[in-house]
Structures are given as C-alpha cells and as structure tokens.
Amino acid sequence: MNQILAVENLSKTYQSGEKSLTVLSDINFEIEPGSSCAIIGPSGSGKTTLLGLCAGLDEAGTGSIILDGKQLEKLSEDQRAAVRNASVGFIFQSFNLLPTLTALENVMVPLELLGKKNVKPIAVDLLEKVGLGDRMHHYASQLSGGEQQRVSIARAFANQPKILFADEPTGNLDQETGETIEALIFNLNKELGTTLILVTHDTELAKRTDRILQLKGGKLIKDSASATSEKA
C-alpha cells in the first residue's frame, strides 16, 4: 500500500446529451515510487483522459485513484490542487507556459504557491540546468517551442515533485529537439528520484521506461509489468 499511484476499477464516461461515451473502462494498475512508466496507445484511446484523472485534474469517474496516499475522488478541487502543488509536476504537449510571465517567473510560481521564501536562486538554478540561463527574462512568445518546453520542464521539477506527468512532451517538437527534451526529462528524473508517468505514442521513447501500459478503446490491453511477471 505504499505505492505512489494506485488505480482501481477506474471507468470514465462522458455524457453528451442522450448519448454516453465510455472513454475508460475498468482500469487497474499500481506504480512504484521512483519508477518510470509509459502509457501508449492510438489517438483517442483515452491516454490523456487517464493522465488527467490520475493527476487529479478531472472530476473522478467511478473506481478509485490513490495519489501519494490520498484518495482523489474524496477530495474537493481545491484539496486536489494542494496535492498537485505538493507532489505533482506536469509537462504538456503544448507547453502551457503562463504567457504573461517571464521564463523565470513561470518556474518560480509552483515554489511561491508552496509558500517558500527566496525561491529565485532555485528557479535560476533549474533554468541553468535546462540550458536557458541566458533566456530567463524572456516571455513565452519570445521563445521557440523547444525552449518553451525546457522552461516547462524546469517548472515541473521546481517543487521537487514525487511524481511527474508528461503528456506527449515531444509531440509538438522536431525529432532533434525532442530528443534533447527526452534526455532532459530522463536525466532530471534519475537525479531527483521522481516517479515518471509518460504518455506517448512513440514506442521507441516508451521503451526507455521501466514499464509500458497499453490502452486501446479505453481498455488496458497490455501491461509490460504483468507480462514480465507472467513470464517469470
């Protein structure tokens, strides 16, 4: 029971008018702290939905999700926000930097939200780690996609999250830039001992993780961990 993330009998249905669409049905898995895991599957298979639920971004469906010891469906939105702030980091396909803030400020925000003092040196340090020491005072619109994603990686690691969710972090980048980003994520991940949940449809990328969950039509059709355990 000391898993960082435990998903049990999770289903999610969207109701639109009279039609109801089951996007996820009966998903079960657990993630060990410090491990890395990839969620793969074709477009529309429910990867993003699953990620959103696990990270506590969405209203829960049926079933239960325990993130860092907290049962998400029992929490209010604001309580989930507190959990996110304390234990979760995010990297998105579309970067999602705050457009009115500079790179440095973007990285400072999660720390400031935690109520930490003297956060600037930490943010500067992180930005230097992702190689943006000289672009700290630029706004998002003044940065290239790869640079924006590096800022968002620095931001994601700022509060030293126990678990990092990444939704197709290289999806919007060219291959070369994508590879640097991947390297950054994996390196920081190792260095800081963070758990990593990575959504991707790039099987090569997925292979670099400890474990692969494969979705199709909202169902978990393959779990490399159980596969190996079956073999063993």
Binding site: G52, L57, A81, N85, F90, T100, L113, Y139, D167
Partner: protein, 841 residues
C-alpha cells in the same frame, strides 16, 4: 500575508502584458466618476454657501408675508418686543420711461431705507443703494435698463409719480438672474408709495415685513419660543433663516440630484464597459488560470489575481476621476450662474472626493465580479483540452442581485424617492434583458435564415455573429444600453422643454390688460379699437371671500379637521366674473347653467369648477355664502363645469349669472391680440400713459422669457449628456476593441490562406455594421419606449419622438462602431501575419 503578497505579485506580473487593455477599463471609470464628483462637490459647496449666507439671502432674521395688511395687534406686539422692522409692499405694475415711451410690466417693490438688514442691494453706482431712499429716487433692474436703453440719469414713471433713476440693480437679496428676468424689480421708497396712486385701485399687493432680532439674543430660541407661536396664532406666513435654508437646499438638491443621476448614467455606462471588457479579458485568461490550477493554485487564488488587478485599476481610475471631477466643478458656476441667488465660491470638497473614489471602486469591483466569479469554475483540465467556462454559480447570481441593489441604492440616494428609484432600476434591468433577448434572437435568426447566396464578405460577416467566441451578446448589450441611456436623456430633455413651452397659436389672445376700473373700460376699449386691435373679450372681475359653506362658517370648518374641506378653498380670495352664457373652454358636467337672475328675491345659482367643487365637498343645490367686500351674498351650486385651462382664456373657478354683481366694486380684464411688436409697444404706451393703474401682460414676451430660461436649463442638461456621450464612446471603443482580440486569430488565418486585405476589411465592416445597427436600433427603441413612459406617466404629455435625433443617433452609433472596428482590424491587415501570431500567443 504570504499569500496576499504572492497574489499582488502575480497581479502585477500579469498586468505587464495587458497594460493597454487595463487602461481602457480605467478610462471607462474615470469619466463617470469625474462627472459624479464634479456635481457632488458643487452641490456640497452650494449647500455650504446657502448655510453661511442664509441671512443675506433673506435680508432679515424673519420675513412675514401676507395678501392683506398685517393686523395692528401684530405691529403692537412686534414693537413691544423691541424688534427692528422694515416694511415692503410689492405688486405688479407697468413702468413707463418718458425718455422713449418704453413700457413694461414689472415688479414694484416699495421698501424702507433700512432694507435689507443683512446683505445688500447691489447697484451701479454702488452708492445709489444707500442714497435712493433718502433722495426719493428709484432703482431699476439692469435688464430693464438694457431693454429700454435707459441710463442712470433718466427717469421712470410708476403710477402717477415720476422718479429719477438713482442706479441700476445688479443683484437683490435672494433673487437669481432667472427670477429677475421673469419679473424685473424696480425699487421705490416706501414713503412714496401712496403718491403713485397704485394702492387703492385693485392691484394685488404683497405685504411684507422684515424683522431683525436685537443683538445678543439666541436667534433660534427666541424665534421658536416667542415669535413663531404668535405668528402661527395670527395665521401669518413667515420665512425664517432655517426655513429659507431648507427651501433653497431642497430646490438645489433637486437640481443637483437630477444632474447626479445623469452623472450616474455616465458611471453606469463605464461600469458596463468594465463588465464587458473584463468578461472578454477573463475568457482569455482561462488557459492561464487552468495552468495555475494545475500547478496547485486554489480556485480562489486564481480569481483573486484578477480581482486585485481590477480593483487596483478601478481604484486608480476613481482617484483620477475624482481629481478631474474636483477640477471640473470650477467650470460649473458659469453654467449655473443664472440660477443662483449668490456668487458661489468653490473649494475642494473632501467628502465628495472620497465618496467618488468609494463609489468608483465599489462599482468597478461589483461589475467586474460578475465575469470574475466564473474564474473559480475553470477546470484545470483546460490545460489538456479546451473546455472553456465552467457553469455560472450561485455566487454570480448573488452578485447580480448586488449590482441591482447598488443601482437601486444609488438612484434612491439621488432621487430621494423609493418609487422613482425602483422605476429607474427596473427600467434599466428591463433594457438589459430586452437587449440580451434581442441578441439571442438575432443569433438564432441569422443561423436559421442564413443567406447562403449572399456575397462572401456578407456571409462571413454574418456568420461571425453566431460563431463560437462571438461578441454579439456583449456588444449588443453594451452598445445598446449606452445608446438607450443617452437617447433617453436626449428625448426626455425635449419632453421637459416642450412641457413648459406654451403655444401661442394664431387668433389666441397674446396680450392681457387687467386692473381696468369700471369707469375706464369704455375708454380703453376705444383706444384698443382705434389702434385696430381686436377686443377678444372684456370681462368684469369681482373679488370676494367665502363666508360659509353648506350653512357652516368658514372659521368653524377650518377648526374642524374631520370636514375634509381643503384649506385653500376656505382662505383664498375668489376672483369671480358674471355673464349670461358659457364660453367655449367650458363644458357643463352636472346641473344647468342659468345665465340671468331676474329679480332680487330669486335664488342665485352659480357655477363651480369641477376641482373646486370636489375640494369644497359640495354638490348641486348646496348653499354657499360669499363676502363681497362687506356684503354677504347667499347662493347655491347650480352647475359644475369642466374647464380647459390650456386655452388662453379668461377662465374662472366661480361664475355668477348676470343681475347680481353689477353694482359691486370690480375691475375689468381685456384680452386682445397684436401682430407686430412696434404696434404693441405703441398701444401699451397709450394705455399706460393714460391709465397708469392698468397692467399689461404681454404673453409673447413671457413666452420669449420662458424660452430663454429653458435654453439655459437645456444647456445644463446638454452639458451633462455630453459627459454620458463621451463615456459611451469610450465604452464603445473598449467594447469593440476587446472584440478585436477575438477576431484577430481568425483574420490572420484568413490572411494566411490568402484572403485579400479588401476582403478582410469587408468582412469586418459587415460584422460591425450588423452589430452596430442591431444594438443602436434596439437601444433607440428602448429609449423611445422609456421616453414615452416618462411622457405618459411623469409629464402627462403626448410624446412625439424627434425623428431627426433618432436618425442621427443611429447613424452616429453605427458609424462609430464600424469606424472603431475597422481601425482595430487595420493592425491585422497591415502587418505580416506571423508578427501578429507571435504577439498574441
């Protein structure tokens, strides 16, 4: 604390990239507050001045007024009390300037040398105010001197006496330029009054007594404990300093209250501007809020960041507005100069300044809260996919209620009437709902009946009305409400002015001669006919008082509070005529008109006006007794008439049949009509030089004077409307400006896929043209409805909208909308698409 610090920091950081837009919110607030503070400070100063100058305005500690001479017992009492007294007799009479034969009806004021006890009659030369009484000269109003080209060494005839003119009057205690335009005063020494011969001959005289208290007593206490009880016992009308303060205060608070409401309208427009721009602003912040939520900010923190921004902007805007307002008030005295009985000294009004800031802050926060509250409902899931808004919450319904309460509360503060405030608030609410309804309808209709064969630009422009992220609702409500408010102001101003305007149509009399003595009638008629002016009517008038009603004495009825008889019918002096037939402004409602009493023993049946009969509580056949200068005449109600008072006729509340009053003391009134001014002047001159006691009212001159006064009032109103219009324009710029951000992306995409500059301009033109037209037309219709409502319920007149004003408003508002819209889209059209795409990320 830590939290607040961070919120402030975030609000600051976020504002850096939005300065121009935040300034736009601010400007909406600034003008409204400026107008409000200007009017309020001015009102404040006015009240202070009235308070400090009340004695000078009255000229005495107490002023007594009566239609008949004061009883000797009163004089005795006042003398025993050791009070200083000053007498005045005031009445309307003709002046005649021998220099050039000019003549006009004026207000003669015969006063003693010690008038006024406080303040002064301001004259040129200054010394003449002090010397005219001793030298037995007259002081003549400056407008009168100007009109007849008279200079201070000329003379003036009043009644049968010729006075030298000692000087011209610039200002008298308590009178404003407006009151003296209507009835210009001429001062003569009290001792010379008898000699004018005007006292005996039927003139309506106002008896006044000015009282000054001895030094060193407690004025208020003395008045309340000694003087007031005595005056009340004698039933004498009085005006003391406190009362005068109140009267003046009330009069001007009515004025400033109305102006304040106009200023409030400017502020409301500003608020609507804030609400709609914040609405769009917040929409654009959905993604940012979602990211913040994702990083762990709470739902309230997300909202507070923007609430802080708006509050600070509202606060700064209010301060700037209050500062501007405090300086604008220095221009207001020129505007109001003619209405005030004193020269106003202005000073900075701290209470108004702070009140303005408070109201500005409150208004901007309140109106911004409506859209801001929705931020709380933004789901963090928006970072993963665009979901847009959450649902509207209970809290925002609560804010709507607060907004309505705020509007109601403020209008109540200004109008001092729950009913009027409620009507104002409900109308405003109704207008907003109508506009929302209309824009929904338009969105639906455009979609339903889409003209698929229309040209490309028209189709795109129309489609923009209903596409996702359309501005239809916000723009239609904002522009529409602005148009409605301003147009209502304009139309109701016309109403106000039309109401007072009398029509002097053809064939109606435009000159009235009154106070003609019986022995003068024949000769006056002769003069009139010799001048080939028509004698439209000549009627005798007998003055009388009511003695008893249905067998009960008037004095007894006065005591009896249960009688329900209105006081005015018991006290007044009745001016009664007698004739044998009805005139065409009269209709018999009840009973019969019998035009002649054959013998002295027959019962006398008189005819009463409908309203008078109601207030007297009498019906057909009830007996009344009149006291005709000593002689009691018993009569009965024979008929009840309806009178059309709008017609220029000699109308009477009480009409006697012929055969009763022929021998009573009486005077006559003659109605005639002139066409040319010179002719009227010659005629008046002839009559007045022969019969100085006759007064002549020139209705055309009065109409002209009224027009002049109305012109000044309407200028004040227009000045205020101007504020509203400027605010409206700023709101319009704001509203259209924010929609630019919505259309930018689309326009850039169109450009990118090859749309020409012309095509984009055309699309934009069509969209803003449709929006502007819908909004302004709906607004105008609402304005016409509310002006009609005002006309029907408040002014009780018929309302005919000024079509030109309506057309001009439509063209101006639509034109402005299109113009601002197109100006905005120029930045899209004239720059390379990439630059804009990057900037607007």
């Amino acid at each position: 604390m830590q939290n607040l610090n961070w919120l402030l920091k975030m609000a600051w950081r976020d504002s850096r990239r939005n300065r121009s837009r935040l300034i736009l919110f601010m400007s909406s607030i600034v003008l409204g507050i400026a107008a409000l503070v200007a009017i309020n400070s001015f009102g404040d100063n006015l009240t202070q001045q009235i308070n400090s100058e009340a004695k000078e305005l009255l000229g005495a500690d107490v002023e007594l007024e009566s239609r008949s001479p004061f009883p000797d017992s009163l004089y005795q009492f006042l003398q025993d009390e050791n009070l200083q007294l000053s007498e005045e007799r005031a009445f309307a009479s003709m002046v005649y300037f021998p220099k050039n034969g000019g003549t006009r009806l004026i207000n003669v004021r015969a006063v003693e040398a010690n008038y006024p006890f406080y303040g002064a009659i301001e004259t040129t030369p200054i010394s003449s105010a002090k010397t005219y009484n001793k030298n037995q000269d007259a002081l003549v109003d400056q407008s009168l001197m100007l009109q007849f080209n008279i200079s201070p060494d000329d003379s003036v005839r009043i009644g049968t006496t010729i006075f030298s003119i000692a000087g011209e009057i610039n200002k008298t205690p308590g009178q404003s330029a407006i009151t003296t335009t209507v009835a210009p005063p001429v001062f003569i020494p009290f001792s010379k009054l008898e000699g004018t011969g005007l006292m005996q001959r039927g003139s309506r005289i106002n008896y006044k007594l000015y009282i000054k208290f001895p030094d060193g007593i407690d004025d208020q206490k003395y008045f309340n404990e000694v003087l007031k009880p005595r005056l009340e016992k004698e039933e004498i009308r009085f005006d003391d300093v406190e009362e005068r303060k109140e009267e003046l205060g009330d009069a001007y608070s009515d004025l400033t209250g109305f102006l304040n409401l106009t200023a409030f309208i400017a502020l409301l427009l500003g608020c609507i501007g804030v609400a709609s721009s914040v609405q769009v602003y917040v929409k654009e912040k959905v993604k940012s809020v979602a990211i913040l939520r994702c990083l762990g900010a709470s739902s309230l923190q997300g909202m507070y960041i923007f609430l802080i921004q708006i509050s600070i902007i509202g606060f700064i805007g209010s301060i700037i507005g209050a500062a501007i307002g405090s300086s604008i008030q220095y221009f207001l005295p020129q505007l109001f100069a003619d209405f005030l009985p004193f020269e106003i000294e202005l000073s900075f009004s701290l209470p108004s300044f702070f009140q303005g800031i408070l109201i500005g802050l409150l208004a901007s926060v309140l109106f911004a809260l409506v859209p801001l509250l929705q931020i709380r409902k933004v789901s963090p899931l928006n970072v993963l996919r665009s979901l847009g808004w959450g649902k509207t919450s209970k809290a925002s319904r609560f804010v709507y209620v607060l907004v309505v309460l705020f509007v109601f509360g403020f209008s109540y503060l200004q109008l001092d009437s729950l009913k009027e405030a409620a009507v104002f608030t409900v109308s405003l609410l109704g207008a907003a709902l109508i506009l929302m309804g209309v824009s929904r309808l338009i969105i639906w209709a455009v979609r339903r009946f889409f003209p698929n064969n229309a040209p490309f630009a028209t189709r795109q422009g129309l489609a923009n009305l209903y596409r996702p992220n359309n501005q239809t609702l916000i723009l239609v409500v904002t522009i529409g409400l602005g148009t409605a408010l301003i147009t209502t102001l304009m139309l109701s101003q016309d109403l106000l002015l039309d109401k007072v305007k009398l029509s002097s149509s053809e064939n109606q009399p435009n000159m009235v001669l009154f106070d003609i003595q019986s022995d003068q009638v024949e000769e006056v008629v002769e003069i009139t006919e010799r001048d080939s002016l028509p004698v439209i009517s000549e009627v005798p008038i007998v003055t009388m008082k009511l003695h008893s009603l249905k067998g009960e004495f008037v004095d007894a009825i006065k005591e009896d509070t249960t009688a329900g008889v209105r006081n005015w019918v018991l006290r007044r002096e009745y001016r009664v005529t007698y004739r044998d037939e009805l005139i065409d402004s009269e209709t018999i409602l009840e009973g019969e008109w019998d035009g002649r009493v054959e013998s002295a023993t027959d019962s006398i049946f008189i005819s009463l006006d409908q309203g008078l009969a109601e207030d007297m509580k009498v019906g057909l056949g009830d007996p009344l007794t009149f006291n005709v200068q000593g002689a009691l005449i018993q009569c009965y109600v024979g008929s009840i008439r309806e009178i059309d008072w709008q017609r220029v006729q000699t109308n009477f509340l009480v009409v006697f049949p012929e055969g009763v009053l022929e021998e009573a003391p009486k005077f006559h009134v003659l109605l005639t009509r002139y066409e040319k001014v010179e002719k009227s002047a010659q005629y008046q001159q002839k009559v007045v030089s022969k019969f100085p006691n006759i007064s002549i009212i020139d209705l055309d001159l009065i109409l002209k004077t009224v027009d002049e006064v109305l012109g000044k009032i309407s200028f004040v109103i227009q000045f205020m409307a101007f504020f509203s219009i400027i605010t409206g324009v700023i709101v319009l710029i704001g509203a259209v400006n924010i929609s630019k951000f919505q259309r930018m992306q689309e326009a850039v995409l169109l450009r990118t896929i090859g749309a020409s500059r012309k095509q984009i301009v055309r699309i934009n033109f069509m969209e803003y043209f449709f929006l502007g037209s819908i909004a302004s037309l709906t607004g105008i219709i609402i304005a016409i409805l509310s002006a009609w409502g005002l006309a029907y319920f408040s002014f009780e007149t018929v309302f005919v909208p000024n079509l030109w004003a309506v057309l001009i408003t439509y063209i101006a508002i639509t034109g402005l909308t299109v113009f601002i819209g197109l100006t905005n889209s120029r930045s899209v059209v004239n720059k390379p698409p990439l630059e804009i795409l990057r900037k607007e990320v």
